[in-house]
């Protein structure tokens, strides 16, 4: 059974009240959805809550599912719209990013941090850079880099045209590169060092 047939079978069975079919559906898409929510929102607690809400919404709207569409694109579309809504609401409550203090290393006191700590530190800094991107630039970038989606799949999930998507990816990279130069110019050497360590050089 190919993926689309499998998805249709899950949806039909879940609509008929089969709990195991809905569980299979959640299992299939939990990681892409959780990753998208984490990269959009920045913390594991928020990501977990948001990912759960995405699947609750999916279950409620399952009867509106258009089987000509890929289920994964639909699920990620619900997830990205939900995260963008949260970020919009949050923006009304938080301080301006320009007023935030510069990033502080988490493990600066460690004399010889091991590879795991270095990775965690780099993760934190990548996340801090991502958090400064506008949500509508962030979502396609995450789908492109982490969820490994093609242009067509991202267009289906975000509702963007192909030219608008290319433009957003370009602007997102441009802006992130500029932010990295201003705030974390040592990220690249850290990456090179970690790669050397992994390769045993």
């Amino acid at each position: 059974m190919d993926q689309i047939e499998q998805e249709k079978a899950w949806v039909t069975a879940a609509l008929a009240g089969e709990r195991s079919a809905f569980a299979a559906l959640v299992d299939a898409y939990k990681n892409p959805v959780y990753n998208l929510c984490y990269r959009m929102l920045g913390t594991s607690t928020e990501a977990e809550d948001a990912a759960q809400e995405v699947f609750v919404r999916l279950y409620r709207r399952l009867h509106t599912y258009d089987s000509s569409r890929k289920l994964s694109s639909w699920v990620l579309s619900i997830a990205s719209h939900y995260c963008i809504d949260i970020l919009r609401r949050r923006r009304l409550q938080t301080v301006d990013i320009e007023e935030m203090p510069p990033w502080q290393p988490l493990v600066s006191a460690q004399p010889q941090p091991d590879a795991q700590l270095l990775n965690a530190e780099r993760e934190e800094r990548i996340q801090a850079l991502l958090a400064q991107l506008e949500p509508h630039y962030r979502a396609p970038l995450i789908m492109h880099y982490w969820n490994d989606m093609s242009y067509e799949e991202i267009c289906a999930a975000t509702g963007l045209s192909l030219s608008a998507l290319k433009s957003r990816l370009h602007r997102a990279r441009h802006r992130l590169a500029a932010l990295m130069r201003q705030q974390s110019p040592d990220l690249i050497p850290a990456l090179a060092a970690s790669m050397k360590e992994q390769m045993g050089v």
Binding site: A23, F55, V56, R60, Y145, H170, H174, A177, I188, L191
Partner: protein, 177 residues
């Protein structure tokens, strides 16, 4: 400046694995050789691309599926409970109206039919007609019933609002802004 933007946009396409034609490649090479700012930015964008490609995927907790399925069913059950309560209120309004307006024959006909196995709106109407009551008198009883206005109308308004909200949610999902 326009040329700088165009060169960087083309660079972005190459990072996505998009093929460029020879004329575009030549234009990029020529411009990058002469523009130090674009050269630096192009290098940073390339480095950023490697950095993002190496950043790991985040995985959901192990018990995520079980908890999520539980949550989805709990929300659904709650919604069904509300719908059930709404239906019960509607029935109470209809039957109560019949009883209060003295339509005892219709009340018993409706109640026994509703409780009979295989109940449907059609059999209820058939029984009502067989009991010698016209459709007009049924409608009149319901519409003139004292419980109809205070209970049924707000309930209908809630149902219409709920349907509209669902319709809007469907529209925004299928045609995102």
């Amino acid at each position: 400046m326009e040329l700088c933007d165009s060169v960087l946009a083309h660079l972005s396409m190459t990072l996505d694995g998009e093929p460029l034609d020879e004329a575009d490649k030549k234009m990029m090479r020529t411009h990058l050789a002469s523009c130090a700012d674009c050269r630096a930015l192009a290098q940073q964008m390339g480095q950023l691309d490697s950095l993002l490609r190496q950043a790991p995927m985040k995985y959901a907790p192990i018990d995520f599926t079980a908890r999520t399925v539980e949550a989805a069913y709990a929300v659904e059950q709650q919604r069904n409970a509300w719908l059930g309560a709404g239906t019960l209120l509607l029935c109470l309004a209809l039957f109560g109206s019949l009883l209060i307006t003295g339509q005892r024959a219709l009340f018993w006909a409706a109640l026994t039919t509703a409780l009979a196995p295989g109940f449907s709106g059609t059999t209820w109407l058939q029984n009502a007609v067989e009991s010698g009551i016209t459709l007009a008198s049924v409608l009149a009883s319901v519409l003139l019933g004292p419980l109809f206005v205070p209970v049924t109308l707000p309930l209908l308004m809630v149902l219409v609002t709920f349907s509209l909200m669902q319709w809007r949610a469907r529209q925004s999902l299928h045609n995102p802004a």
